[in-house]
C-alpha cells in the first residue's frame, strides 16, 4: 500500500475543472483500477467508460499525463508516482462528463464508408499471405486514440473534411481485400481528406494494438491515390490500355 495523488478532470463541456484526489493503491494496479477505487470510495459519480479491462475493447481511452492511452493498460508503476498523475478526457471530442467524451462523430464517418462488396464471381479461397496485411488492420479495437492524437482533428478540427487514421485503417482493410470490388479512392481523396494527413505518425505511436497505421495503411493508400489521380504516367497508361 502506498498513496498517490491524482488530478482528474471533473465536469461537462460547459464547465469543469481538474480536481485533486489522494488514493491508497497496491502493487500491480493500472490507472483504471485507481479510477475504480475512487468511484468505490470517494467519488461514485465519476464518469468513465470501460468494459473489458484487458486492452481488447478500447473503451477506457484517456489522456494520462498528457499522453493518449488506455487506462486499463497503463500501470501505475510505469508512471512517476511520486508526482501527481493527470487524467484528462480525450481532447479531440466534445466532453460529455468527466472522462467520457462524445465519440459519435466516429460512427457517422464509418457509415459513409462503402462496405465490403465482394466481386460477384468471387471464389472464396485465398492464402494467408493475401490477408496478412488486412488482419493487421482488423486488429483495431476502435479506442480512437489515433483520432485523438491526430493533429488534423485535435488541433485543426477538420472533422468535416477528414476521416482520421482509424478510418484510413478501415478503408485500407477493405481496399486490400483480395475480393473486394468497391472503389473507395475518390472518396479517400475528397471526402475523407487523405491529403490532410502529413504522416507525422502520432497515430502509430499511440496505437495500443501496435498497428503500423502510417506505414502500412495511410502511405499505401496515398500511393494508390497518386496512381489514380496524380501520376501522369500511370494515368496515361490506364487511358491507353483502358485499365480501370
Amino acid at each position: 500500500m502506498r498513496s498517490i495523488r491524482l488530478k482528474i478532470f471533473r465536469g461537462t463541456s460547459n464547465s469543469g475543472e481538474f480536481k485533486e484526489y489522494t488514493l491508497e493503491v497496491e502493487e500491480g494496479m493500472v490507472v483504471l483500477d485507481a479510477i475504480h477505487r475512487l468511484q468505490a470510495t470517494q467519488s461514485p459519480d465519476l464518469a468513465c467508460r470501460w468494459n473489458c479491462k484487458a486492452g481488447k475493447c478500447g473503451s477506457c481511452s484517456a489522456e494520462i499525463n498528457g499522453k493518449p492511452r488506455l487506462m486499463c493498460m497503463t500501470r501505475l508503476n510505469d508512471l512517476p508516482v511520486n508526482k501527481t498523475i493527470t487524467i484528462a478526457p480525450l481532447q479531440t471530442f466534445p466532453i460529455m462528463k468527466d472522462l467520457a467524451t462524445d465519440v459519435s462523430w466516429n460512427y457517422q464517418v464509418n457509415k459513409k464508408i462503402t462496405p465490403f462488396t465482394p466481386k460477384s464471381n468471387a471464389e472464396w479461397h485465398w492464402e494467408q499471405k493475401d490477408i496478412d496485411r488486412i488482419q493487421e488492420f482488423r486488429k483495431c479495437i476502435e479506442c480512437f486514440l489515433c483520432q485523438d492524437v491526430c493533429h488534423v482533428l485535435r488541433v485543426h478540427q477538420k472533422h468535416s473534411v477528414y476521416a482520421g487514421p482509424r478510418f484510413f485503417v478501415r478503408m485500407a482493410a477493405l481496399e486490400m481485400h483480395p475480393i473486394d470490388s468497391a472503389d473507395r479512392l475518390p472518396f479517400l481523396k475528397t471526402d475523407a481528406g487523405l491529403g490532410y494527413c502529413n504522416i507525422t505518425k502520432c497515430c502509430t505511436q499511440v496505437c495500443p494494438e501496435s498497428i503500423a497505421i502510417t506505414d502500412n495503411a495511410i502511405i499505401p493508400l496515398k500511393e494508390r491515390v497518386v496512381d489514380r489521380f496524380y501520376d501522369p504516367i500511370f494515368i496515361l497508361f490506364r487511358k491507353l490500355f483502358k485499365k480501370k
Binding site: 478532470f9 469543469g16 489522456e63 499525463n65 498528457g66 499522453k67 493518449p68 512517476p80 508526482k83 493527470t86 484528462a88 481532447q91 466532453i95 485465398w126 492464402e127 499471405k129 493475401d130 485523438d148 492524437v149 493533429h151 488534423v152 485535435r154 488541433v155 485543426h156 477538420k158 481496399e175 486490400m176 481485400h177 483480395p178 475480393i179 473486394d180 481528406g193 491529403g195 490532410y196 494527413c197 502529413n198 504522416i199 507525422t200 505518425k201 502520432c202 505511436q205 499511440v206 503500423a212 502510417t214 506505414d215 502511405i219 499505401p220 496515398k222 500511393e223 494508390r224 491515390v225 497518386v226 496512381d227 496524380y230 501520376d231
Partner: protein
Amino acid sequence: MSNNSLGATARRDLWWLEPAGTFAVLVLFIAYAAWVGLSGTHYEWGPYLSPFYSPLFKPTWWPFSPAILVLIVPLGFRTTCYFYRRVYYRAFFMDPPACAVGEARKHYEGETKLLVFQNFHRFFVYLAVVFLVFFVIDDIHAMMWPINGILPNGQMAPGPKTFGIGLGTIIMVLDLIFLSFYTFGCHFLRHLVGGSLDCFSCSKTKETRHGIWKIISKLNEHHMAWGWISLGWVTFTDLYIRLCSMGIIHDVRIF
C-alpha cells in the same frame, strides 16, 4: 479545456527534445551541404569522388559548382521522402512539434494544396535509383589506383591502373550500401513492386512480386534508421574525401 497555443500540452516528458534535436542535426547538415555544394572544390582525391558531386558533370557553360546540377536529385528524393516529411513537418513546421502538443499555425492544409507536390516523390525515387548506379561506378573507380601513385595535389598520376582498396574505398562502399538500404526501403517502391496488388496468390507473377514486396517491407520497417544512417554517412564520406583532398588527413591504402 483545449489550449492550442504552440507547445501547449499536459505531457511531462521532454517532448521538445526530439524536435529540437532533429532541428539541430538537419540545420547542421543543410549548412554543411550548402557549403560543400557551393564550394566547388576539394570533392575529389585520387580515385575518390564525393557523393555530393556524383555523377560528376562539368559543362563548360556552367559557371558554378557542378554539385548544384546533381544535388537536386538526392535533395529532392529526401525532401519528398515520407520519412523526412514526418521529420521536418515536426521539427521545422511544428505541425505538430510532438504528439499531443499544441501548434502555432491556425491555418492548415496538410498536403492538399501547396504541398500536393509531395505526391511526385516517385519521380525522385526513379532518379535516386539511377544515381545508385552512378555510385556503383564511383565505387569501382575508387578501386582503380594508378600504378604511379597519387600526386601531392591529390591528382592521379598518369599511367596504367591497378586494383586497390583504400580506407576511402571502404567508406564509399559502405555509403553505397547504406544508401541502397535507404533507397530500396522506400514506401513508393514497396507500393510499386507489390503494395498495389490486392491478391498475392492469384498468379505466378504476383507471387514473385509478393516475395520482393516482403523484402522491401522488411527494409521499410527500418526506413527511418537507414534514412539517418545514410545521411550521416554520406556527410562523413564527403568530409573524409575533402580532408584528404585538403591534405589535412592522409588516406590509408589497405590493399
